[in-house]
């Protein structure tokens, strides 16, 4: 068996697993269905781990159907994985395994006669995400993008008894579909220009033509679908609505990897298709996408801080972090890419653990409202510890992988955008601080019970339909074990230098379009750039500690600040209120939950991108 054959298997295995679950779920008991799903998810993890090991620092390339290129041309689809793509697929598979174990005892009432449907959908989701991460063909990427989309809409609306999930899923579906069709228009334009569909082939065909309006418009259109998935401002409105209402295990996947796949796709398409001499120039792209990333990060951070609905808070924290990922990727250096890869890997573990712990609260108390749950989590010390640790990791506590990834990315940005470090610190402190604030209130009962009334638009999170029917039973062990293990993996990303080293070498491959094109054609060449340095640095640790301390201070100020009676507090409070009225309130009003608004913003985003890229 050749290593490259494992590439299509990474997609085929979960597909076959879904089929087995649908057919077997009919007569197998619940325990057997869960075991079957777990075995299948573990098989895909094994497949991808083998692939990761076998690929090494090069590429694995598989021409499906045996349509190998003749004289550099093929009619088939190619799957091409370097350790960034394979690593992301492996991360997906690991998280899917975690989610399946987490939801062993989760849903009490699967659809009648269709017991295996939930794990089957999760496996189909996995197939879509792995296919998207591994493909080297633009249209094929669209197909798997749509597969993960379609499954995600269904999974988001899974709890049909609750009014909010169905609404969130509908908005999610419509907005993402528009983005996908926009991408398809872009693919059509690229096909018309080049007559090719493979990423590397389009890239080399574009070389024969100088950059013109067609290329810019095609670039923007293709990017639109990916940026919608990545929830970049102003395409992000669907994300909080979907992630705050989806079942908890699904949230773990949506926030942990699906959104990040959007950033990955955008970077992959740019590097392989548009980064050539006649493509979109690097400085132009760097300015535009770093700006978009910073805007996204700040909006996410501000909105995250404002939330009291825990899942919505975590959703906005994902928006904030995705902004950081996009900014890091848009540096267009191997070092920035390596940093983001580390950051994504560690963030997935932390975010999934946080969602998982929130699921425990929802199970116990039927609420995810920070105010309503005040002090009610005291009987869950383990969950409280994990939630707090998750908040600290989100803020960037060393030696969590989030801190390492953040430090490497900040270091990569120093040359061109020295101020970017400040953005990274503020955003991770605000999102981590919000989580810490909620942790202290819910699990520690800290501070006075917050006042209930807020004049502006708000989603509270009380009165959720519990996802599990029986609140009296003990918390199932997997619901606590899985978040703990996920936090440990996030820690491992930070403390295992071998992983960071291999991601650094992979980032060098990822950012080299000639190496990619050569690998697809079957003759590997070594990338030209130097391997970036991805170790811990004093400066990185200092910045990480700074953001952690800032997060703790923010949380403390939010909890005990109102009760303090210093001189000058009055003016500070007045200033904060004024800022809230002039900046925060309008921003919150924009998140109106209105379908028409979100669609308009999507078109505005496309128009802005067109203007910026054409300038």
């Amino acid at each position: 068996m050749r290593t490259a054959d494992l590439l299509p298997l990474a997609v085929a295995v979960p597909l076959l697993g879904a089929v087995a679950l649908v057919i077997g779920g009919r007569w197998l008991p619940r325990v057997a269905t869960d075991a079957l799903a777990t075995v299948w998810a573990a098989m895909d993890v094994a497949d991808l781990a083998w692939l990761w090991a076998g690929t090494g620092d090069g590429h694995s390339v598989s021409w499906l159907g045996g349509w190998y290129p003749r004289r550099g041309e093929s009619v088939g689809i190619v799957l091409a994985g370097d350790r960034i793509g394979i690593g992301l697929a492996l991360l997906t598979a690991t998280l899917v395994l975690a989610v399946i174990v987490y939801s062993w005892r989760y849903f009490e009432e699967p659809p009648a006669q269709h017991a295996g449907t939930f794990p089957a959908l999760i496996l189909l989701f996995e197939a879509g995400m792995c296919g998207f991460a591994l493909t080297g063909d633009l249209f094929d990427a669209f197909v798997f993008f749509e597969l993960m989309g379609a499954v995600a809409y269904a999974l988001t609306g899974y709890r049909i008894e609750d009014p909010r999930p169905v609404q969130g899923a509908l908005i999610f579906g419509i907005v993402n579909s528009i983005g996908a069709y926009c991408s398809l228009l872009g693919i059509g334009l690229l096909y018309a220009r080049t007559g090719e569909l493979g990423l590397a082939q389009i890239g080399s065909a574009l070389q024969t033509h100088r950059a013109d309006a067609l290329e810019v418009v095609a670039f923007v259109f293709v990017m639109t679908g990916l940026l919608v998935k990545a929830a970049v401002v102003p395409f992000h409105f669907w994300l909080p609505d979907a992630h705050s209402v989806a079942p908890t295990p699904v949230c773990m996947l949506l926030s942990g990897v699906m959104v990040e796949l959007g950033v990955y796709g955008a970077a992959r398409v740019y590097w392989t298709v548009f980064s050539g001499p006649h493509g979109i120039p690097h400085p132009h792209l760097r300015t535009a996408f770093v700006a978009a990333g910073v805007l996204t990060a700040l909006v996410g951070a501000v909105m995250c801080w404002q939330q009291r609905h825990l899942k919505r808070m975590l959703a906005f924290s994902t928006v904030g972090h995705v902004g950081l990922f996009l900014a890091g990727m848009a540096l267009l250096t191997p070092a920035g890419t390596a940093g983001v890869a580390l950051y994504v890997a560690a963030h997935a573990g932390v975010k999934a653990a946080l969602f998982g712990t929130t699921g425990v609260l929802l199970d116990r108390h039927g609420s995810v409202d920070e105010h309503g749950l005040h002090g009610r989590g005291r009987d869950l010390p383990l969950a409280g510890a994990m939630f707090t640790l998750g908040g600290l990791a989100l803020a960037g506590l060393p030696p969590f992988g989030t801190a390492l990834g953040k430090a490497v990315t900040e270091h990569a940005a120093e040359g061109r955008f020295p101020w970017l470090s400040a953005v990274f610190v503020v955003v991770s402190a605000a999102t981590g601080g919000a989580v810490l604030r909620a942790a202290a209130r819910i699990f520690g009962g800290a501070g006075p019970r917050p006042q209930e009334h807020y004049a502006g638009p708000e989603t509270t999170g009380s009165g959720e339909e519990p996802e599990i029917r029986d609140p009296q039973r003990r918390i199932p062990a997997p619901m606590l074990a899985v978040p703990a293990i996920l936090l440990c993996t996030s820690l491992a990303v930070g403390v295992l230098p071998a992983l960071a080293g291999s991601l650094a070498r992979a980032a060098r491959q990822f950012t080299d379009r000639t190496a990619y094109a050569a690998a697809v054609q079957g003759h590997a060449i070594a990338p030209a750039a130097a391997v970036p340095d991805v170790g811990w640095s004093t400066e990185g640790v200092a910045l990480a500690l700074a953001s952690t301390v800032l997060a703790a201070l923010l949380a403390a100020a939010a909890i005990w600040g109102p009760a303090l009676a210093w001189r000058g507090m009055g003016t500070a409070r007045a200033a904060l209120r004024a800022a809230g009225r002039s900046v925060v309130l309008p921003l919150r009003r924009l998140h109106s939950g209105h379908l028409g608004d979100y669609v308009s913003w999507l078109v505005v985003g496309v128009a802005l991108l067109l203007l910026v890229m054409a300038a």
Partner: protein, 251 residues
């Protein structure tokens, strides 16, 4: 945002979109251009594989992985519909009233039903030769079956539609496609490689794996669309919400 503000915002953005898109169109090769490098290669490859319908060759052989993804989407959508349109805890089903059908309608339906089903099977079977294939034939089969609803009534439709079986058939079709791909790996080639004997050009058995995959897709699509329609019909005809007093009814 107010409605006016939203529409103004949209128009401002749409104008930019339209201008940029029109500018891009001027850079496209003119409509009807003769230069299509991929197409030329695809036609040659299809003839080499002895598949007369080049579109089927692209769909089920050259770019079969796309179709595998596409069939997975259909499979996922059927599962999704089963999940989303399941009977909620607070809903009950009502018995649809037998509808009265005009004799002429019934006759027309009775005649059309077998004709449509045969057409569907024919279109699936000849996918590698002439226009059509698993998907088109499958949809025709599925919609054809619902002529029974028009001709007779909902209960007749329910009798001739074994949902439990069709649901499994849908999964089996999708699984067969993914599993057939493994044949290539077993034979020492690549995933989804066309390793079956190619047969004679223009014959029903030509194209190697193409007719087999085509049939699997036909089964999946036919069964999947019936299940999909069944769940929508079930909601529209049978499911009652607790407060609902209307009689509704079939026919």
């Amino acid at each position: 945002m107010s409605r006016t503000a939203r529409i103004r915002l949209f128009w401002a953005a749409a104008v930019v979109f339209a201008v940029a898109y029109a500018a891009a169109c001027t850079g496209l090769p003119r409509f009807g251009t003769l230069a299509h490098p991929y197409a030329t290669r695809a036609v040659a490859a299809a003839l080499h594989q002895r598949t007369a319908n080049v579109v089927s060759s692209v769909n089920f052989d050259q770019r079969a992985f796309d179709t595998l993804g596409e069939e997975s989407i259909l499979f996922a959508a059927v599962l999704g519909t089963i999940v989303l349109l399941r009977h909620a805890r607070d809903e009950r089903t009502g018995r649809p009233r037998p509808g009265r059908v005009l004799p002429s309608t019934r006759l027309l339906g009775m005649v059309l039903l077998p004709v449509t089903l045969l057409t569907g099977v024919y279109i699936v079977a000849h996918g590698q030769l002439s226009p059509g294939g698993g998907f088109q034939g499958g949809v025709i089969l599925a919609t054809g079956l619902h002529l029974a609803y028009v001709a007779a009534d909902y209960r007749v439709l329910k009798r001739i539609r074994p949902l439990a079986f069709l649901d499994a058939a849908d999964a089996a079709g999708a699984g067969a496609f993914a599993a057939l791909g493994l044949a290539g790996l077993v034979a020492g080639g690549a995933y989804l490689q066309n390793v079956l004997p190619l047969g004679t050009f223009g014959q029903l058995s030509s194209g190697g794996l193409v007719p087999v995959v085509n049939a699997a897709v036909g089964v999946e699509v036919g069964a999947g669309v019936i299940v999909l329609l069944a769940f929508f019909l079930d909601q529209a005809v049978e499911v009652r919400s607790p407060e609902e007093h209307g009689t509704g009814g079939g026919g």
